[in-house]
Symmetry: C3
Subunit: 155 residues, 3 copies
């Protein structure tokens, strides 16, 4: 039976997909003690298609970038569910790292990354309030618009 | 009463500002056990103005970049003080991540980042000696020249 | 006497060098409890020469990038040996961060980073399977083609 966090996501119309297989020789998450580290997740939708491809400041609009960041966050949650069985075991979202595929003059990366942060706070409430670092990068795998990684305290 | 670390900073003429409010939907730090993770801090001065804006290798000189990195480090310390009450509770600066807003041909990012690292070692002595990763990024929020994040062991 | 991991590396013809001195004011690793954080390592060979210099998507081929990533991983292992005395004390490779010096249109960063990931899995087996984040960055120190950082659970 899904826990309270997953029910809240379902109420929002969000069904967690099976996590995307890592695109190379690594795994989706590693647990060490009460810390769970989730690999950088690209902005795949549940069908495995990138929600936005290209650069913010170029072909990708801020709105589409936000949708991409939200998709990354959903994929982070999907990894968490596989790792923990139940998202209610997340005690705290410790940190999100946000990587925005951006042109050198695009200054709105935090606004884009909020697509991921907002979902975490919606899903977990106060436990979802996290430390964060957002940077604009030269390029991402498959020209994905956004990549998000996470660190979690879990029980 | 300020602890020994804060007194040392005061001797250097450094008064810790109230930390900048996060520029989006996240918090300045999260503690998990004895680890404290501080969000990426931009190079704001105590008045909330960016110490350096633009790219290293472009409009920003190495010297101004170093001042910017130092300002980021001061803002990291300001977050620590809010988190801990007393900087003397920092047992070790575990890691700094340095993000330098740079043109693709700017090769002196470590020299710039030393503006942050030097301050940590000055403030904390041997406990301030940290692991570090420095990269040149395509762009930073608000076109800030430098962003620094940190991980700390605290008591 | 070298442990089993170091013997396996020797069988592959890999002798761990003395770790490169940090290029600035920081240290190669910091341990906090059972976590060991290794600073970003550049792609130096045992003679201190960069294995590949320049950008993926530019002067550096994917194959040379992979060799560079592998060299970074060897330098991470060299730091671990200094930290632990014996690589067999690594309980788990928790996370690798891969930073690829890339042109804005280079999409094969994961393939490059596999040069580092594959070596970890070869060296440590199942304990080497790690979480990972790979990004294409604007520039790296000394125009190194690749930089790799790591987080490890150790005993």
């Amino acid at each position: 039976m899904p826990g309270t966090v997953e029910k809240k996501l379902a109420d929002l119309g969000i069904a967690l997909p099976a996590p995307a297989a890592p695109v190379a020789n690594y795994v989706g998450f590693v647990r060490s003690g009460n810390l769970l580290v989730v690999s950088g997740q690209l902005c795949f939708d549940p069908e495995g298609k990138l929600v936005a491809q290209g650069k913010l400041g170029g072909a990708v609009s801020i709105e589409d970038g936000q949708k991409a960041a939200r998709a990354c966050a959903i994929n982070v949650l999907a990894q968490l569910r596989v790792a923990l069985g139940d998202l209610d075991k997340v005690q705290r979202v410790v940190r999100l790292g946000g990587f925005i595929n951006a042109t050198p003059d695009f200054l709105e990366t935090p606004k884009v990354m909020n697509g991921a942060s907002d979902l975490m706070v919606t899903a977990f409430g106060d436990r979802g309030r996290h430390a964060r670092t957002t940077i604009g990068v030269a390029v991402l795998p498959m020209d994905a618009a956004v990549e998000v990684e996470g660190m979690f305290e879990v029980s």
